[in-house]
C-alpha cells in the first residue's frame, strides 16, 4: 500500500538560512503524527512545504505515491486534496461561515450551491456549529472560528489534514473544544500531520511523535516512548522545560 505522505530529504532555505535540513517522514493512511519542538524548529515550515505554500529547496514530497514537488504538477489540484488549518484561523471576514465553507467546493470543485450548502450544514452540525452558519466570523469566539476553519478545510474532502498549531492563538478555556474536533477527526480515520505545543494532547492522540530541533527530526517514536523515555539529550531537555512550565 502506498504511503499517505512521504517526505524525502526535504531541505528549505529562506534567503540563505536553512530552516529544514533534510527531513524524512512517512505517514501511513489513517495515521496521526504530531510534530513537537521549540518555536523556530521548522514545524510550520514543514507543513507549508507539504501544502506547496512554500516551494522546497531540495528533496521530494509524495502524496499517495504522486510526487507533488515535481514542477509538472498542478499545485491547485494538489492543494484541494490537502487540508490545512492555520494558527490564526484565516477565515474570510467578508463572508458568512457558510460562504467561507462553500466557496472552495463551489468554485474549485464546481459543486452546485444547494449541494455544497447541504454538505457544509452537515459538517457544521457534526461539529456543533449549525446555529452559526449565517454568522460572520467576527461574531464568533476564537474556538468557534477555529472549528469553522477546520470545517472549511474538511468541506474539500481532503485525503490529508495539516494542522499548524491550531490552538496556540486561543484562550485556554477555548482549547478544549478545538481539540475535541481533532480527536473526532482522528477517530474517523483522517490522516493528520499536526504541529502542536499541546503535549498531553499529542500524547493522547498521536500514533507517532516527531521531535524537531533546528530543522531536523532528532527523535521519533510512539508517544509513550518519546514522552516517558526519550533517548536524545535534546529531547530530554525540551521535555524537561515543558514539564517545568507545567504543560505536560
Amino acid at each position: 500500500m502506498t504511503d499517505a505522505l512521504r517526505v524525502e530529504a526535504l531541505r528549505k532555505s529562506f534567503n540563505g538560512t536553512e530552516v529544514l535540513k533534510g527531513i524524512d517522514l512517512i505517514l501511513a493512511e489513517h495515521e496521526v503524527v504530531c510534530l513537537i519542538g521549540a518555536s523556530g524548529s521548522g514545524k510550520s515550515t514543514l507543513l507549508r512545504c507539504v501544502n506547496l505554500t512554500e516551494p522546497v529547496t531540495s528533496g521530494r514530497i509524495l502524496v499517495e505515491g504522486e510526487e507533488i514537488t515535481s514542477p509538472r504538477v498542478d499545485a491547485n489540484r494538489v492543494r484541494r486534496n490537502i487540508g490545512i488549518v492555520f494558527q490564526a484561523f484565516n477565515l474570510f471576514p467578508h463572508m458568512t461561515v457558510l460562504e467561507n465553507i462553500t466557496l472552495a467546493p463551489r468554485k474549485v470543485l464546481g459543486k452546485p450551491k444547494a449541494a455544497a450548502e447541504g454538505e457544509a450544514l452537515e459538517l457544521l452540525d457534526r461539529f456543533g456549529l449549525a446555529d452559526k452558519a449565517e454568522e460572520y466570523p467576527d461574531r464568533l469566539s476564537g474556538g468557534q472560528q477555529q472549528r469553522a476553519a477546520i470545517v472549511r478545510a474538511l468541506a474539500m474532502r481532503p485525503r490529508l489534514m495539516l494542522l499548524d498549531e491550531v490552538t496556540s492563538a486561543l484562550d485556554p478555556e477555548l482549547v478544549g473544544e478545538v481539540l475535541g474536533v481533532i480527536r473526532e477527526l482522528a477517530e474517523s480515520g483522517m490522516t493528520m500531520l499536526i504541529a502542536t505545543h499541546e503535549m498531553s494532547f499529542a500524547r493522547e492522540i498521536a500514533n507517532r511523535v516527531c521531535f524537531l530541533d533546528a530543522g531536523v527530526i532528532l527523535e521519533e517514536g510512539p508517544p509513550e516512548e518519546i514522552f516517558s523515555a526519550p533517548a536524545n539529550p535534546r529531547t530530554q531537555e525540551f521535555l524537561r522545560r515543558i514539564i517545568e512550565a507545567g504543560r505536560l
Partner: protein, 271 residues
C-alpha cells in the same frame, strides 16, 4: 455637526447658538465691506438668478451624464490597471512596468492639458473611424486622468489585505485569479470605498473642464448667460448645482468611513 450623547438637548442648543452667531458675524463682515453693494449687484441679482435656473440645470444634466459615463469606465479600467500592477513574477514585468508608467504619467500632467491635447489633437489626426466629437474626447481625457488616481486607490486596498487571506484561499485549491476575485478584491474594495468616492467628488467638478473643448455644459452655459447680461449671477447658480450634486456623495463617504470604523472596532473586540 452632530450633537449626540447623554446631554443631547443641551448640546443641540449650544451647536445651534454657535452656528447662528457664526452666520451673523460672516453676514456682518461681508455686508459691511466697502465693495459689497457692487458685488451684491454683480453676483446676487434675484431676477437673473430665477432666469438662470430655467436654463442652466438643463446644461448641468450634461455634466451629470459625463460624470456617470466616465465613472463607470474609470471603475473598470482602473481596476484592470491595479490588477496588472499587482501581478507577481518576472513574466509580468512589462505589464507591471506599463501600469506604473501610466499612473506616474497621468497623475503628473495637469488635467486641463490632457483635455486640450486629446480634444484638439486626436480629431486633428483625421483617422477615419475615430470619433471627432469633442465631448467624446473630453470624457476620454477625464477617464485617462482619473483612472490613474483610482488605480492607486484600488492598489492600496489590495495591498492592505493580509497575505494570510490569499494563503488561506490558495490552500483550499483556489487559483490565483479566484483568490483575487473572491477573497482579496471584495475586502480591498470595501476598504477603499471612502477614498474612491472622494476621487469621484473631484471628477464631478472636473466635468466642467470639458467645456474648454466646446460642449455647452453648465459652466459654458453660465458663461453665455453672464456675457449676455453683464452680470455674474449665473455663476452662482452653477456653483449651487455642483454643490447640490456633491453633498449626497460627501455624506455617503462620511457614512461609509464611520461604518468601516465601527466594523473594525467590533473586529478588535472579538479578538
Amino acid at each position: 455637526m452632530r450633537a449626540s450623547g447623554t446631554s443631547g438637548g443641551r448640546s443641540i442648543l449650544i451647536a445651534l447658538a454657535s452656528t447662528v452667531l457664526f452666520a451673523v458675524v460672516v453676514v456682518l463682515v461681508v455686508s459691511n465691506a466697502p465693495g459689497w453693494p457692487e458685488v451684491q449687484r454683480q453676483f446676487f441679482n434675484g431676477g437673473l438668478f430665477r432666469e438662470s435656473l430655467g436654463v442652466i440645470p438643463e446644461a448641468f444634466f450634461l455634466n451629470v451624464r459625463i460624470f456617470l459615463i466616465a465613472e463607470v469606465v474609470i471603475l473598470v479600467f482602473a481596476l484592470v490597471l491595479a490588477i496588472l500592477r499587482s501581478l507577481e513574477g518576472p513574466v509580468f514585468f512589462p505589464l507591471r512596468a506599463l501600469a506604473i508608467v501610466y499612473a506616474d504619467f497621468f497623475r503628473g500632467i495637469p488635467t486641463i492639458l490632457v483635455i486640450y491635447m486629446l480634444g484638439f489633437g486626436a480629431p486633428a489626426l483625421q483617422i477615419s473611424g475615430i470619433p471627432r466629437d469633442p465631448l467624446f474626447w473630453g470624457v476620454v481625457a477625464l477617464v485617462l486622468v482619473y483612472s490613474a488616481y483610482v488605480s492607486e486607490v484600488y492598489r492600496a486596498g489590495i495591498e492592505s489585505v493580509h497575505p494570510s487571506q490569499a494563503a488561506a484561499a490558495r490552500s483550499l485549491g483556489l487559483s490565483r485569479a479566484q483568490a483575487l476575485r473572491f477573497v482579496i478584491l471584495p475586502q480591498a474594495v470595501r476598504r477603499v470605498m471612502p477614498p474612491l468616492l472622494n476621487d469621484f467628488i473631484g471628477l464631478q467638478k472636473d466635468t466642467a473642464l470639458v467645456a474648454l473643448l466646446g460642449p455647452v455644459e453648465a459652466f459654458r452655459q453660465s458663461q453665455i448667460e453672464v456675457a449676455a447680461n453683464f452680470n455674474y449671477t449665473p455663476y452662482l447658480v452653477t456653483a449651487l448645482l455642483f454643490v447640490l450634486l456633491t453633498i449626497p456623495l460627501a455624506r455617503l463617504t462620511d457614512w461609509l468611513v464611520a461604518r468601516e470604523r465601527r466594523s473594525r472596532l467590533a473586529l478588535g473586540a472579538a479578538r
